[in-house]
Symmetry: C3
Subunit: 129 residues, 3 copies
């Protein structure tokens, strides 16, 4: 298992981690790769990387789905982050062919920060097969 | 890795791909199977297949969560598709026993089209174990 | 594949299944583990377990996203459960190191009941690697 450390810079943010994940994959091997986030106010998504406005739109809709001004019971004030983390999930599973992540033309892997800025960890586990 | 090609026929749609995925699994082997969609306005879900109204209801709620008339910044007009793709994710991981997908009684695997109609790809990767 | 049987006690509920999943993992082995729910009105999530109010907040937002009083076509009355199941997905994939689930400090694994109370199954499949 490889451990990646990143720093996020905003309250909510999608950070492109595709190249970091690619570096954690063994050379020339094929199989699958689990990208796992050990946090409860963060997640991992795969979506478009070409136009940053796509990430902006997704974050804005997320703010609508889990608004700041809802009647939350958890007193730490980060319940929207827990909801967004639940909606996107802690992990994605990717296919690897000959050491390369198999992604669509427009797909990039993003760390989803929903309660930053913070220092965060990402675990990458490769399974040959 | 097996590649499946499908054609969707509507703007948004859940297309039952269970039989296509089953055909891509090696005979008599056990393990897990990753069904992966290399698109950023599509996804994969597992849900009820018996009553088509279930898929209709899910699509209608998705339209409420990511409405067409929101203030999006991405100018291509398909931001709702990117949001829905993010909410459902690019892949599902299924268990395989002796060459058969292990699904619940009512579960079927659906390709989620959120910006169609289009020709789309699905990757199926089996890992023995 | 290990099969876990649980009973839920409310209409909607997150039930902590971390210890049950841990018991289904072979001792001292490393790899990944798929936790799979064979139901269409349930799911699996990973989120905070320390403060029960976090789960309460997530369930309340889920009720807002898929409300009971929406115009649903499916006549069984459990369409909100199908939507919530679609949003959280049927499975999570976890990393296992030397027989132990690799979870973040605050992370617990929850069975998401969205149309209970019911007797439910959970499948756990370990893949060494």
């Amino acid at each position: 298992m490889e451990v990646i450390t990143i720093k996020t810079s905003r309250k909510t943010q999608f950070l492109d981690i595709t190249d970091l994940v690619q570096k954690a994959i063994p050379e020339n091997k094929s199989g699958i790769c689990v990208v796992y986030v050990p946090h409860t106010t963060a997640g991992v998504i795969v979506n478009e990387g070409a136009d940053p406005d796509v990430q902006r739109d997704i974050l804005n809709i997320f703010d609508k789905l889990a608004p700041e001004d809802f009647h939350y019971y958890h007193i730490e004030g980060n319940s929207p982050g827990h909801v967004k983390s639940t909606l996107t999930g802690p992990s994605v599973v990717l296919i690897v062919e000959k050491g390369k992540l198999v992604l669509g033309t427009w797909q990039r892997i993003f760390f989803g920060e929903y309660d930053g800025p913070r220092t965060r960890k990402i675990y990458v586990k490769f399974i040959e097969g």
